[in-house]
Amino acid sequence: MFLAEYQSKELLAQYGVLAPDGRPARSPDEAQRLCKEIDARKYVVKAQIGAGGRGLAGGIRFAATPSAVADEARRLLGSTLVTDQTGPAGETVTIVQVEAAIDIAQSCFVAIAFAPETGQPMLLASSAGGVEFEQRARMDEDTAQSCPLSPDSPEARAEIASFLTGVGITEAQSTAIDAIFAARHAFTENDMTLIEINPFARTSDGRWIAVDAKVAIDPNASFRRPEFASMVADRPAPADELAAQKHNINLVRLDGNIGVIANGAGLGLATNDMIMDAGGKPANFMDIRTTASSMDVARGVEILLADDRVSAILLTIHGGGMTSADTVAEGVNFAYAKATRKLPVIAYISGKHADWGHRILRERKVPVESCDTLSAAVGRVVELAGQRRAR
């Protein structure tokens, strides 16, 4: 889960990472008023959304005076920004950050994340910063170089110094290194999974500043970091995705008309691939977790039945562990017993207690058509969904 830019910079600043003087504002008036508190000759107004790519989408605007700041804030607040990371629906701007515009002498990129192989923090850096980095990184994922980032010590600082020299970050290098170890401290103290500072900018007076920063906090650590739950700036999840989460179901809304129920992330991805290959379009990705009860499954099915985009349901179940096929079938049956809208179900059921699963659906009069293979089930549901859409 990502924090907003202003929250990310506030948090990093507590550990000594410098950021431009700035304040979040929720209205144009507030934005104008805050200018008095900010020591600046020129201002920048930045849309606070949970996705990157906002510079190219017009979410960053410069303003010379407090009244120009108010104008820019008025333009951004309430508007919807569509970037290559928001998805087609975009994200509505509810907060803008008003900041002192920085005179940038050199613009770079630094990030801290875990190296997947060793599981230890690593530093990524590039002498290209800002939008230039984003554009280059899109073409070549090796734009940033990486190196292990050990806990702060003279040896670790020496390693980072020679790494930064190789990258091309040489001016005022010791202050850059201070900022990097301050960020590492913040990373380990707050269950962060990513710190991305871009641009990481050098001012003409030799300071390195986090002009923009993005911090991700591990949602799996929420039990010991409850303070972040209220700060999350992830794009607000649709109501049905949140409802599914409460029932041990991972749901991602897609834009098709075939409702998909699968038990397991891999099986769900495999099923959706096959639907697309067969010319159909899934309305969702659904992963019923291995510990789900039949009532959890029922809730997942209800969400699909209530979705009027969905014209047919594909049930892909491989029974195993504690969620055997009969448990899932019971859940489907519960949902259908209560539902007024009973969409046709095409089922491919295998694995533990597959025969019971089939029997439950058949005997309880769920409008189900069973297939012997996943390919056959996918072919049938695509055909059915096509017919129902044409009608």
């Binding site: 591990d218 039990f223 991972n250 991602v252 992330a265 099986l267 769900g268 495999a270 697309m276 562990g321």
Partner: protein, 299 residues
Amino acid sequence: MAIFVNSETRLIVQGMTGRSGTFYTDEAIRYGTTCVGGVRPGKGGARHLGLPLFNTVREAAESTQANASLVIVPAPQAGPAMIEAIEAGIGVVVCVTERVPQHDMSRVKQALAGTDTVLIGPNSQGILTPGQCKIGVMPTVNALPGHIGIASRSASLTSEILAQCSKAGLGQSTTVGIGGDTLHGVGFVDCLKAFRDDPETEAVVLIGEIGGRGEEEAAAYLESVDYGKPVVALVVGRHAPRGRRMGHAGTLSVLGGGTAEDKIARLRAAGVEIAVHADDVVAAVARATAKAPQKAAAR
């Protein structure tokens, strides 16, 4: 033979007295796994499912000569539990717990470095050597002893592929769930190396998905050696939207990269036979075996 676990494996279960721990220990015993005890701090000396309970992994290992542990405890305790097993010198540690914090896994990986312990998981279905040893949460109804090695990032898809293989008469040497998380123990490359050294394994199936670098690393490894056995890969998530977490945490990489197309292209370039979709794996094994008949026969 098989990889990592076999009929000689002696299993303890960390978290055996919990609801899931009880259920899966019972299933493992019924399958024929040699279970020798459980760990539950404060319950040392008691018995559960007819097996002795110990306060610590070290005590359990000393009393029972256990060489494997199943970690099935709530996420906040999973990291410390894995570290305890590693420090006690347990040879194979399998963690099925989901949602383990990454910073905890970072400490686990630090504890693991330089040891001989094989860590499987977390967020893994576990490891199964059909007919010999089951450690994990997978169904066994369709498992068949044989010569296909499977390594996978997902659980139910693996069980489905395994069932299809068995139906076609392709039994399995060992199936390893490397888990769906970003930071985990053994990866595809470790499994490929172990399967290469295992005389029972005649072909390997990798089941990958979007996110991470595991499939790319497998491709790089296969390019660097004369592997000698047919390798098949299924990579799912070809049509998944970018930038969304699709169930597994590992599907959303904070550093980007890792599209299915890219993984498939690299694996294909490394000589891997690609299963186009989930129903194509058995056919892909046949295609791969037909391509390398001399090599397979030579073993």
